[in-house]
Amino acid sequence: MTTVQIALRNVFRHKTRSLITMSAIAFGCTAVIFVGGFFEDILYKMRESYIKAHTGHLQIYKQGFFEKGSGKPFEYLIDHPEQLIPLISSVDGVVAVTQRLQFAGLISTGDTTVSCFGQGVEPEREPAIRLAGHPETRKDLASLSGTVIEDGEPLDRRDPYGIIVGKGLAAGMDVAVGTNLVLLTHTVGGSINALDVTMKGSFFTSSKAFDDYAVRLPLSTAQQLLQTTAVQSLVVLLKKTEDTSRAKHAIERVLAAHHLDLELKTWDELSDFYVKTKAFLERLFMILKFVVAIIVILSIYNTMNMAVLERTSEIGTIMALGTKRSGVLRLFLYEGAALGILGGGLGLLVGSLLTLLVKRIGIPMPAPPGATLSWLSEPIVVPSVLMFAFVLSVITALMSSCYPAYKASRLEIAEALRRV
């Protein structure tokens, strides 16, 4: 027989009380696992949606673009981008490399003229960014896909003057598929140029602000409008988002080896909204963890304190029999730890099962701020959150047992023996 065995028997001597205490710990643990999984799903979907609709995993620009390019974008264009694509595509983990040319301009129906943001893309390569790795199920449409064609057709290289218009912009201009439009902008050389185009379809992404302002057109058409053969950026899509940092370094090595004057930005450096949302959710999650820690501390403290009060005479007895004060301290700490381990273990089980169940069913969620589309939450069981929830249960259980255990170990033997 060992002190651990005695501690375990003491834990189960008041089954109902211990069960209530363990349930409180398990409840806290479950809350951490579920909310952690819920937030992780939000961040995952937001991240993937941004990557697929807007940023890709990595973007390559001419050196200096990020510092000075906003004022003089056409001074930082990449010439001969087609030579770079094979170099970057050869890096392990790269799925697609696509070129983009962006500009600010005007779009007109003849009656209505509004400002817009044009994005020249490669139709044959962009779909890879939009749908890579994800079957186009309805659920994906509501949550994962980067760009969704709501009406009409997607861009087609063989139809150079067919463009797609952001949902909000199309609604604002009151245009539909088939409407003839005029795109007007400055060329790279500084003169004005205009192009007759036809609205081929309307699209939306996870960003309402983008959909209210953007049009997409084939890259060759954008180059014709801007009178250039260069592009502004190369967008790189990877097999796995987790590979971003590794791929960035690998591409940087390739660019350096070829003495190319280019700079790289990762998706998170380009997604300010995502980074801030992540920080915000992490703060919220921290508050939840704190609340859970308080629940565990209070429930265990109460149980352990009751145990010390009820077992005062017993503590006196074992000390009279020769148990040292450190032995009494250890016994009560083991009991607290046992409650934490058992409650935490129960929490892991319940939390994981609940999260998996909810993931299977899905929770319909309203559109997040700045987005147009409602989505389906499918909380994820995150191993690091499981680990954290368990460690939190055990550590807080130990912490809250410290004072009762100390109190027990400092009892005066004769005084303790006098208690009934």
């Binding site: 027989m1 060992t2 002190t3 005695i6 028997r9 003491n10 001597r13 005479s313 017993e314 007895t317 074992i318 000390m319 009279a320 029999l321 020769g322 148990t323 040292k324 004060r325 450190s326 032995g327 005066e412 033997i413 004769a414 023996l417 009934v420």
Partner: protein, 225 residues
Amino acid sequence: MSLIDVRAVTKQYWLGRTPVPALRGIDLSVEPGEFLAIAGPSGSGKTTLLNLMGCIETPTHGAVRIDGADVAGLSGDSLAELRATKIGFIFQRFNLLPVLTALENVEYPLLLTRLPDQQKRQRALEALERVGLSSFANHKPLELSGGQQQRVAIARAIVAEPRIVLADEPTANLDRTTGGDILSLMKSINQRQRTTFIFSTHDQKVMELAGRIVLLSDGLIASRP
């Protein structure tokens, strides 16, 4: 050399700001193998004197020597070791640990030693056999009668083969017959193993079994027959 030597011992408690003297100057020597009764009415200081000899309390003044060692100079841990190795305790309310079986209760003092597990279990079984309860080894205290519980407590007190067993009113919670049986058991262990037994009582019948009686009255030794 006496096994226990109590010299000019006083013990004073405080009730708020009021001092309450429990012992007012005790001199007592106990020799190895004695079967000594400390008698006296309630409040005469019997339990306090036993506590001092059992090293679970320290005197306000005076000295207590156990086997030649002055307990005043010992740390808490050293006192715990002294109790674990040299002193066994029997309590009025038996004080068995409710979550442990009879055998495990008897084994408990051996957990504090470095004996191999097998030997601990063997010695606990032997002690339980000596008190005639080997067939109740796996019973929990609540499944035993008062007399049986006190027998388990006696087995627990002697399992580590201490030189001294202190028993505070060991028969007070038992009927007369069972109490007599318990005293006889203690006496037989005393005679067979030469273990020194010191027990407190206010029962005249119990006193008759003692080899020596120390009568306490109002914190002082009234007589030393």
